[in-house]
């Protein structure tokens, strides 16, 4: 059934942070669990069956409504990798559109069901702090662009093809830090100040508590510790 296929695709393409098999509400293995999702699918096929069986006037009206709804109803998510949810019956469930819209907007602005990741950003010499929501970006490059817009004298250094600093290459690192370019640093969960770019992006979002943009020369003191930590992680 087309709908069921759609459901499967939904699960597979669902973006989810977290360990597989753990929380995060996703994973393609759910079909075998007796979870609410299973019930949901049963509900759907039940509905489809009813639609096909009804020959009375009611069916005509139902289908008409659904056809209208297909064109009128927007998909509940903006993520292009997810196919649109099953077409909903007009005015059902009976939740006012005002409320439906608010919840849909909230969902879109914070990825999946996870809250935003606001961190304070300070730049040495700038009078104001800013706040950014790290979840709004999906790479160091995007973050760098955003920071450059906020602090016009900040330009990102050499971040390599994957956007990460190559900590293994000491000389490259020292070049970066010796220059007068500003370098972004961050305070991680342990309270240590690290150079931005030392871990994959998702890990960075999880562990970053605040950002500080400082002169490369000042950041030199961080480097050895950063390298140590990096090595111990690898």
């Amino acid at each position: 059934m087309q709908g069921t296929e759609r459901d499967l695709n939904y699960k597979e393409t669902e973006l989810c942070l977290g360990l597989p098999g753990g929380g995060g509400g996703g994973g393609g293995e759910n079909e075998v669990e007796s979870s609410p999702k299973t019930t949901g699918k049963r509900g759907f096929s039940e509905t489809v069956d009813l639609k096909l069986n009804l020959q009375s006037k009611e069916a005509g009206m139902d289908l008409n409504q659904n056809l209208e709804t297909c064109s009128k109803q927007t998909a509940c998510t903006k993520d292009p990798s997810k196919p649109p949810a099953k077409a909903q019956v007009l005015g059902w469930p009976p939740v006012r559109s005002y409320r439906k819209n608010i919840m849909a907007n909230q969902k879109n602005s914070s990825e999946e069901c996870e809250k935003a990741a606001f961190v304070k950003v300070s730049m040495d010499g700038a009078p104001y702090l800013r706040k950014v929501d790290l979840k709004m970006y999906n790479s160091y490059q995007k973050l760098s662009d955003a920071l450059a817009k906020m602090f016009s004298s900040f330009t990102m250094g050499n971040y390599g093809s994957q956007g990460m600093i190559d900590f293994m290459n000491e000389s490259k690192l020292m070049d970066l830090l010796n220059s007068s370019d500003y370098v972004p640093t961050y305070e991680d969960k342990d309270g240590d100040w690290m150079l931005v770019g030392d871990v994959p992006w998702e890990m960075f979002v999880e562990s970053c508590k605040r950002l500080r943009i400082m002169k490369g020369s000042e950041a030199i003191g961080l480097a050895p510790r950063a390298m140590e930590k990096c090595k111990s992680r690898a």
Partner: protein, 604 residues
Amino acid sequence: MSEDDERQQSPPSDLDFVSTKARNCNATGSGSAYPDQVLNNVLENVLHFLTSKRDRNAASLVCKSWYRVEALTRSELLIGNCYAVSPARVTARFARVRALHLKGKPRFADFNLMPPDWGAHFNPWALAMAKAYPWLEKVHLKRMSVTDDDLVTLAELFLGFKELSLVCCDGFGTGGLAIFVNKCRQLKVLDLIDSEVTDDDTDWISCFPEGESHLESLIFDCVECHVNFEALERLVARSPSLKKLRLNRYVSIEQLYRLMIRAPQLTHLGTGSFSPSEIAGQGDQEPDYVNAFAACKSLVCLSGFREIIPDYLPAIYPVCANLTSLNFSYANITAEQLKPIISKCHKLEVFWVLDSICDEGLQAVAVTCKELRELRVFPVDAREDSDGLVSDVGLRAISEGCRKLQSILYFCQQMTNAAVIAMSKNCPDLVVFRLCIMGRRRADHVTGEPMDDGFGAIVMNCKKLTRLAVSGLLTDKAFDYIGRHGKLIRTLSVAFAGDSDIGLKYVLEGCPQLQKLEIRDSPFGDAALRSGLHHYYNMRFLWMSSCSLTRHGCQEIAHAMPHLVVEVIRSADEEEMDTAAEILYMYRSLEGPRTDVPKFVTIL
């Protein structure tokens, strides 16, 4: 005759004749003998004290004299259907109205089941009131279309205007609001609730007049546009009587702080977004939110949390112990985030929340909130096939913990008869029971049976029940139960339920107090419609959409009942020649067919 006349069996026996003072009463018409005049004066003095509209309706039926005097002394008008009676008739009967409550569209219009521009215009009322009651102080509208011009009328033609409350209304914008707030110098209450307000790019908050304001209540959480915060702050600072303030989501938590420290006398607060704005001022220090809440010693009602960052929730701890009403229905929080809050809310009577708290969150509510009267659980994801976050488990937990429950609205994906039966036994005080199983026609997920027995138990055991909304898989048996036992039911909502005409017949024949009946997508036809002929004049309205009605059947009703207005409504793009009646909306009226019908409505 007032639209809200209900047949009262007993005359008003509770009138105490108090000692009298002769009072000027020039509207009763004179030329009558002196004793009559005295009697009228006495009557007027006494009837002046009657506030309940039911008592007043009864009093007005006693005799002509009482009718006239009651009409003189009624100061608050409640009109449940704006088309049941005309402004002219109202102003002709009632002489000294100070407050008007008016309701327009039927409730199913909220769910896009009614094409836009159906009607319920406030304009003719505004103009009639302006002529007849220039001293009018309060207007409360629900589901009406209000234009900017109407707002201007209210502001300009009613000199002492004090209270405006617009619930689920539309048709106006910030431009109209600006003029309204500017010209209403005595304004005490401006409550905009769940209304659609157009953004005319007007800074209406700045338009409140300078100097001390009389504002007691300012509710604008539904206004979806930026407000001038500095102007708002100044307004709050010069409103010493302000008790109720509900901000929209464009107010950040830092701004909320600034307002709270200026208004610690607030009793009702809507917090706005409850998250920080993107730009933070210099310095690391965040305002002391906990202190701000602690300073609001009179706070009993908290809502808002439109874009909540749960990290800030602990700020509200100081007020939890005093809260009687908490609205988290826009806050997508988990059970873990809820628990530390709810465990402090011992006095809570009204709780609105999202199903994101899951059954576990509801269990936490049940443990602490022993005074709970009203619970509403809304779905984060309002679709048929979304994940079920709450279930029969949560419902049962609530029923066991919150024995004083009077009103419940519960959205879920799956339910069992057993849980509903448990609630019917544990919560005998239930007056409102609205269960929405979002999957249409879904059976008891444990037994596979229809949900008949669950709802049956509710109508049997909850003897005070006046409002019921049913869902899930239901056969005609459920309606048999309702007709047999739901003797006090006034409002009934039915969707995707029943097997045949007899279902509706049970209800129409069995429920003598039925006032409002709204049905969609259920297999009830013309024969069922006929079985209600004896009762339709006692009802405010009947709504049936996507059922099995024909125009012919509706026509029969229209012919049989001249004081019913029978509207057949098409969705805007349908053709007229259809034999099926897509939407039937019928209501009693003293006026006959209304004159402002749009093209897609046919009055039979």
